[in-house]
């Protein structure tokens, strides 16, 4: 068993010293050292009577760090237990310390300070709450590593000699224990909080003495930690209020009589208020004249923080806030698995499977919102694939937990009510995954989970848009980019997108044309106005180039103030430099009416061509889109769409041309209806089905080449 020396610095400490030394003897220390720095009471006599070795030093030589280093040098034990003259160990303290030091990595340990019966409620509560915060879950010994709280208190702390020899106390006038805690952890030692190694400890000062003590304490913290107490009157007032309220609650829990509670409440308010004021003064002591500093200090010291030079004064770190684990996993664990281990192996292809009449098709989709265009495309396709006899299922992969409150029955009903009829099951996650002939990834978020699915013969990727362009340089942009590089056969929602995937990523790709619901979008018996420009101003979608569109409309308004401008697609109308009518978010049927009533449509996309211009054309509404992006791949350079470069004046001129030139308007309108007539969801499904069979055929070919 390790030899233990108890070291107790003393000055005029007779009040508790006898009780303390008796308790220390009871704990069976091997050596007892008392360092007296000029006591004028009976302290030295009490110590000698208790059998302690007394070292007497002049008061001027005392320093919290320096004097304890002296004690440690004179101590003969492998463990050195520092106590203050008013800290009485409770039974079993030393045994608890001895048990903890059986772990050789622990350099220093400390225990809680329990309130004495006469301790004021605010101090008693603070002590209890403060030390409870250090205990391990369940209240046991907590071992603290580098990065954990550095708190240490020489009121009651036990040091391994080897640790002290390596670290030593800094020669500081105050808070030498805090500095030691920080230095020991930095040196690689572990620190332990030992709830059983408790001492009774009281600071039964009067209100003013408390304040002066806080002045000293925060002057010390400024030196050791660089801490400067903030002065924010409102925050301070709220803090004092919350502390006083906590004291009241604590007193109530302890069963104090009402009169006592009221008396202590007044005292607590003064105590906490004074504490903040004196803490602020103490941490700015260098700005206070030396005579006043001496008056404000309980220890009557007039030194200032900047006068103390730290041996290695690295900037103090702010206190770390411990954040517990709150999630099962991080967002992109599946992507990380794919990047680390690669995709799950595919099943061997079966000859002729690409031509089989009925296939098991599983579509993996991200969470949707009502009216989501991309999901409408996907579910229109799945609905029709199912009607063709394929066994179809939909699987929701929910990276960010957006759908965690929706159960599968609800998801399935949403697909049916919001998008398209679907008889198959809708699953949330892959708990019921049982394999498929073809698994279809859809959004970029679905690709990595898709790659990990087993029991699959082929994988394909229905690509609605070039999604890396949706993000600034980020994890998302990189992962979206990565989705095209895993050999999934791409089925792209336009020839432009197909070519991009082939050229940029070397992907194998087919294309399909987005279909139009001709029941909804067709010429209606609605009077068409000749002065109305409608603009899809969904500014929350960056790729819609809304700032450019608004500038084009500003220019149009300048040229033709009487033209009616109507914005739709957003429930947050943008602030503009021109007046307009806002219709908000419309239902598909309402859109059909709007397109039949308007004169010219404006709908911009900086990436893949969207469905909306086609729906406008299907209603006989000529539409202006951006040239040089993706529209030409569908309509050609002089098709039914009026194309203009990404420049406000050019876009305004294109709109104006359609407003002014009736013959041109008629030609575009007629051409649009004719062109879009063949763009149906059935045709789109033909193309997607061909893409799916192509993916299976590629697997067969690859196997045949092996």
């Amino acid at each position: 068993m390790s030899r233990v020396t108890a070291v107790i610095p003393v000055k005029d400490g007779e009040r508790y010293l006898e009780e303390l030394l008796s308790a220390v003897r009871r704990e069976q220390v091997d050596e007892l050292l008392v360092i007296d720095s000029g006591s004028r009471d009976r302290s030295v006599a009490i110590a000698r009577a208790a059998g302690a070795t007394v070292i007497e030093i002049p008061p001027a030589e005392f320093g919290h760090g320096r004097t304890r280093n002296l004690g440690a040098e004179r101590a003969g034990g492998e463990l050195i237990w520092f106590l203050t003259q008013d800290a009485t160990p409770v039974e079993g303290s030393l045994a608890a310390y001895r048990a903890v030091f059986s772990d050789e990595r622990i350099g220093v340990a400390y225990g809680p300070h329990l309130p004495r019966p006469e301790t004021s409620p605010m101090i008693a509560r603070e002590l209890s709450e403060f030390f409870d915060g250090f205990a391990a879950p369940g209240g046991g010994v907590a071992v603290q590593h580098r990065g954990d709280p550095t708190f240490l208190s020489n009121v009651n702390a036990c040091y391994r000699r080897a640790c002290w020899e390596q670290v030593h106390f800094r020669d500081l006038p105050y808070s030498e224990d805090q500095a030691f805690g920080r230095d020991a952890l930095a040196a690689g030692w572990l620190k332990a909080y030992v709830p059983e190694a408790a001492v009774l400890h009281a600071h039964d000062y009067g209100p003013l003495e408390f304040m002066r003590r806080y002045f000293d304490e925060y002057r010390g913290l400024r030196v050791t930690q660089g801490h400067v107490e903030a002065v924010r009157p409102l925050e301070m007032a709220l803090w004092v209020g919350s502390r006083t309220k906590a004291d009241l609650r604590w007193m109530s829990e302890q069963g104090l009589p009402l009169g006592e509670r009221l008396r202590w409440t007044a005292r607590a308010t003064v105590h906490h208020g004074g504490r903040r004021v004196f803490a602020a003064l103490g941490s700015r002591a260098e700005r206070i004249p030396a005579p006043l500093r001496r008056q404000l200090s309980l220890e009557r010291r007039d030194d200032a923080p900047q006068a103390v030079a730290l041996p290695d004064a690295a900037p103090a770190l702010p206190p770390a806030v411990r954040v517990p684990a709150r999630r099962g996993q991080e967002d992109y664990e599946d992507a990380a698995r794919v990047l680390r281990d690669g995709p799950a192996p595919l099943l061997d292809p079966i000859p002729g499977m690409a031509d089989r009449e009925r296939l098991r098709i599983a579509m993996i989709v991200p969470p949707w919102r009502r009216g989501s265009g991309g999901h409408n495309t996907l579910f229109q396709l799945m609905s029709r694939l199912e009607r063709r006899g394929h066994v179809c299922s939909i699987w929701v992969t929910d990276l960010y937990g957006e759908f965690k409150s929706f159960w599968p029955g609800v998801l399935r009903r949403q697909v049916n009510e919001w998008f398209a009829p679907f008889d198959g099951p809708v699953h949330y996650g892959f708990g019921d995954w049982a394999g498929a002939d073809v698994v279809l990834a859809t959004g970029w978020q679905t690709v990595h989970p898709t790659l990990l699915l087993e029991g699959v013969r082929a994988r394909a990727y229905v690509v609605n848009d070039h999604e890396p362009e949706f993000f600034p340089t980020s994890t998302e942009s990189r992962l979206a980019d990565d989705t095209y590089r895993h050999g999934l056969h791409c089925i792209a929602a336009s020839p432009w997108l197909r070519d991009l995937l082939i050229d940029r990523y070397g992907a194998s790709a087919d294309a399909f044309q987005l279909g139009v619901d001709h029941e909804l979008y067709r010429p209606l018996d609605v009077v068409r106005r000749d002065d109305t420009v409608v603009y899809y101003a969904r500014h929350s979608t960056d790729r819609r180039a809304v700032p450019i569109g608004l500038m084009a409309l500003e220019e149009l308004h300048r040229r033709r103030p009487d033209t009616r401008i109507v914005l739709f697609g957003t429930d947050r109308p943008p602030l503009t430099s021109f007046p307009y009518d806002n219709l908000g978010i419309l239902s598909p049927a309402q859109l059909g009416t709007l397109y039949n009533e308007a004169t010219v449509g404006l709908c911009l996309s900086l990436t893949n061509f969207s469905l909306m211009p086609k729906e406008m054309l299907a209603c006989g509404l000529p539409c202006v889109e951006l040239a040089g992006v993706s529209a030409e791949s569908i309509f050609g350079p002089d098709g039914p769409l009026e194309l203009a470069p990404l420049e406000p004046q050019a876009l305004a001129a294109a709109i104006e041309r359609l407003l002014d030139d009736r013959a041109e308007w008629e030609r575009r309108s007629r051409q649009g209806i004719e062109f879009v007539a063949s763009h149906t969801w059935d045709v789109a499904t033909d193309e997607v089905e061909a893409g799916i069979r192509h993916a299976l055929a590629e697997r067969e070919q690859t196997a045949a080449q092996r």
């Binding site: 079966i350 000859p351 002729g352 499977m353 089989r356 009925r358 296939l359 098991r360 066994v391 179809c392 299922s393 409150s405 159960w407 599968p408 029955g409 609800v410 399935r412 009903r413 008889d423 198959g424 099951p425 809708v426 019921d432 049982a434």
Partner: protein
């Protein structure tokens, strides 16, 4: 083509036909499973919407007693109805 090669070819054809048949069975089985799951999801819509898991609910303390009480009340009501029918002569 030798007899062995012909036999091998026939065996391959036979195995391919068998694979196609098994694949067909697999598709039919998947279709049945999908239909059962989809029908269950349709039936459970309101329970799913209200986040009610009846199995979980019936495991809660008091659930069995509540069920027993409902059954007892229903039994009493049945007897009363039966008695009423006897007394009034209604069929």
């Amino acid at each position: 083509m030798t007899d062995i090669e012909i036999a091998q070819q026939q065996e391959i054809e036979r195995l391919r036909a068998r694979v196609a048949q098994l694949e067909q069975e697999l598709v039919e089985q998947a279709e049945r499973s999908s239909r059962v799951v989809a029908e269950a999801q349709e039936r459970l819509y309101w329970l799913d919407r209200w986040h009610v898991d009846l199995n979980e609910l019936m495991r809660k303390p008091g659930a069995a007693e509540f069920r027993w009480m409902v059954r007892a009340v229903r039994g009493v009501l049945r007897r009363i109805k039966k008695l009423k029918r006897k007394l009034t002569g209604a069929s």
